[in-house]
């Protein structure tokens, strides 16, 4: 029996077990929406396409499944670009479907035409323009396969309107044929045995864990490795959550705003085991001064990450979980009392700290949210000072509990990502920690949250300014503050009420402690305007050109 390509597309999505699509309709994508009318797949109407792609991203991070979003051609497609780049930088599996003008009109600057496959080549893992109706099932199969395997990432499918309306005989392929795509999963045995020997010979090992640990579901193996060899564990922003925050070997985040003890441990270690991390410039700061005494073992599924920023002593290409499993089979339990004691001493001597005098401090808000939230909560952040404070002061102990825009640093990511996370994990509390700058970039999605009856808890860490830029101007522009102050005091609690949410204002530590229990128990979405001190800086801070052990605080 022949069906339309649009029908075939929706069948394919059902075959891939897609339950939810985030999207925004339009002319060129109309045939697909017409089929969704009769589908079991739930469509979530956002208020801007950027919201759809961030929501799909948040859904993927919370569930580990592939997130799907859909938009029309032209502006619908270009509005997705930031979100696609965001998913690309953080290796998040999403499939993006865009409508396109009919094939005969491609290249004519038709109404709402844009070359979205051309535009997104640099920010997708792969993309497709379907010109032949018969290609569709194979393309969808490939798209989901590519997005979710190896190093995950976004895949875009551009579907011209006339192709969507064409008739095809439909069968969903079982296998994909991709001769040029064969990720390496198992670590090379010789490399694994050399790494194990190096680890056992080391006196001062440190594990540096990144987002790859989460993607590969290797939190248990990571913990096993750390405890077996008594190695302290430090995290990238993306890696937070994959090792318990209250564990004695936990060092917190390293790098530009890392803890002093994590940066010291990395500087002093003789063996740095990098697991699913990519030596990003925010972690390494000054290349020459990073882990100067260490033999670096770099475990990553993407061979291109190895040797890109730092030349490792020993590379292992493979899936983090499988590589750690094979290392664990070889190494033996041992104590590293002297080294562990030294690291513990640094933890005691140089804790994260802030002065709690005067007005409400943002760091305190984070700490109190952490105490009130419980371990099943998913914390979503936006980008800026509040994000760094969340990374520093929140104690995560579950891998899929921290959702943040790491690589691209997209302000505006938080609210739509929290919507996606909550829809993917309806049973878990989802808490958005955002800033007054960030949330205003995608504020329109409050309507989506209310419409979907999501019990989101939104905490706006409101310092009435763009705090991170203000901080940069303080250190790098001799306090010449320009374009960072909001001279308009937006009442976020009232705004929340306009959208039909409960609204709270918190101005003092006492109000915070008093009202948090009620806020956490609220059934619907809640907007909490936290009026915090406007003078706080994110510390420690490694200034440009310094080594990570030379942070100021």
């Amino acid at each position: 029996m022949e069906i339309t390509v649009a029908e075939a597309l929706v069948h394919c999505l059902e075959q891939e077990n897609v339950e939810l699509i985030f999207g925004y309709p339009g002319g060129a994508i109309l045939p697909v929406y017409d089929v969704l009318y009769n589908s079991t797949i739930k469509h979530v109407l956002v208020r801007h396409e950027q919201g759809a792609v961030h929501a799909a991203d948040g859904y993927a991070r919370a569930t580990g499944k592939v997130g799907v979003c859909i938009a029309t051609s032209g502006p619908g497609a270009t509005n997705l670009v930031t979100g696609i780049a965001n998913a690309y930088m953080d290796s998040i599996p999403i499939v993006v479907i865009t409508g396109q003008v009919p094939v005969s009109q491609i290249g004519t600057d038709a109404f709402q035409e844009v070359d979205i496959t051309g535009i997104t080549i640099p920010v997708t893992k792969h993309n497709y323009l379907i010109k032949d109706p018969k290609q569709l099932p194979q393309v969808i199969k490939k798209a989901f396969h590519i997005a979710s395997t190896g190093r995950p990432g976004p895949v875009l499918i551009d579907l011209p309107k006339d192709v969507a309306q064409a008739k095809v005989k439909f069968t969903y392929p079982r296998n994909v044929q991709l001769p040029g795509y064969k990720p390496t999963y198992k670590g090379h045995p010789a490399m694994v045995s050399q790494a194990s020997k190096l680890i056992m010979d080391s006196k001062r090992p440190v594990i540096y864990a990144g987002g790859g640990v989460k993607i590969s579901n290797a939190a248990a193996e990571l913990r096993n490795l750390a405890e077996t060899i008594s190695a302290p564990v430090t995290h990238t922003l993306m890696g937070l959550g994959c090792f318990p925050g209250d564990h004695p070997l936990f060092l917190g985040m390293l790098g530009l705003h890392g803890t002093r003890y994590a940066n010291l441990a990395v500087t002093e270690c003789d063996c740095l085991i990098a697991v699913g991390a990519r030596f990003d410039d925010r972690v390494v700061a000054n290349l020459q001064g990073f882990a100067p005494n260490a033999k670096v073992i770099h475990i990553d599924i993407d061979p291109a990450e190895i040797g890109k920023n730092i030349r490792p002593f020993l590379p292992i290409v493979g899936d983090v979980k499988l590589v750690l499993e094979s290392i664990l089979k070889v190494i033996k339990k041992r104590k590293n009392s002297e080294w562990v004691a030294m690291v513990q001493e640094w933890k005691r001597k140089y804790p994260l700290s802030y002065s709690n005098e005067g007005t409400l401090k943002p760091q305190l808000v984070i700490e109190k949210i952490c105490e009130a939230a419980g371990s099943s909560a998913i914390i979503v952040t936006d980008v800026g000072q509040h994000q760094m404070w969340a990374a520093q002061y929140y104690k995560f102990d579950e891998p899929h509990s921290f959702i943040t825009s790491g690589g691209l640093g997209t302000m505006g990511f938080g609210l739509p990502a929290a919507i996606g996370a909550q829809m993917g994990a309806p049973g878990r509390p989802v808490i958005l920690i955002t800033g007054d700058g960030s949330i205003q970039m995608t504020l329109q999605e409050l309507a989506t949250a209310v419409e979907q009856k999501l019990p989101l808890k939104i905490f706006v860490i409101n310092n009435r300014q763009l705090g991170m830029v203000r901080q940069l101007q303080e250190f790098y522009c001799e306090k010449r503050h320009i374009a960072v102050d909001f001279h308009f005091d937006l009442d976020f609690a009232a705004l929340g009420k306009v959208y039909g949410m409960a609204g709270y204002i918190i101005e003092t530590p006492e109000q915070l402690v008093d009202q948090l229990p009620e806020i956490m128990l609220a059934e619907g979405p809640v907007m909490v305007n936290c009026l915090v001190s406007g003078e706080e800086n994110v510390l420690p801070m490694v200034l440009a050109g310094s080594n990570i052990n030379e942070a100021i605080d």
Binding site: H126, P179, G180, G187, A304, I316
Partner: protein
């Protein structure tokens, strides 16, 4: 150092844009790029000449490998290989210079492919230094137009860069 890469890619629309875009995006310089159908109609073979030290080449190869359409990359630089380029040159000709130009064509084993009242169009193939020498010897007469295909390369003897042939310099994932 100059490296010559032979790259097998799926013959899909946009594959050239993906490869070329990758070079500019990652800051690698292409000296020459030639592409065409291979012995397998579904697969194209690219010859890419790229400048850079071993570390840059390692990144180039690894990043190319990440493109889903790229099937196989062989760096033939350190192997025994033949490379050729085809060039057409249109040169100014007066009756007084025609004989001299035709002598040069003979010496360089080039061919005249078109004769106009005041021009000769010459085709020459060969390795780079020969072509450069030919170009220099024609320059005094006035070169009106020149077009080069870019270098193509092939391993000598039995060995090849085809899919099933395990060329020893083929990039293997570190590890």
């Amino acid at each position: 150092m100059t490296h010559t890469l032979t790259v097998l890619v799926e013959n899909t629309p946009g594959v050239l844009a993906r490869v070329a875009g990758l070079f500019s995006r990652r800051g690698f310089n292409i000296d020459s790029l030639a592409v065409g159908r291979s012995e397998d109609p579904g697969i194209s073979r690219m010859t890419i000449v790229v400048e850079g030290d071993d570390q840059i080449l390692e990144q180039v190869t690894k990043q190319l490998h990440k493109l889903v359409d790229v099937i196989k990359i062989s760096d033939v630089t350190r192997d025994d290989f033949v490379d050729r380029e085809l060039v057409m040159i249109k040169v100014n000709t007066e009756s007084s210079t025609r004989g001299e130009i035709m002598q040069l064509v003979d010496i360089f084993r080039a061919r005249i492919v078109d004769v106009g009242p005041k021009t000769l169009t010459i085709e020459v193939t060969g390795y780079e230094s020969k072509i450069n020498a030919f170009e220099n010897s024609l320059r005094p007469f006035g070169i009106i137009e020149m077009v080069r295909t870019g270098k193509v390369a092939m391993l000598r003897g039995f060995r090849s860069t085809t899919l099933n042939n395990n060329h020893k310099k083929e990039d293997t994932n570190s590890g």
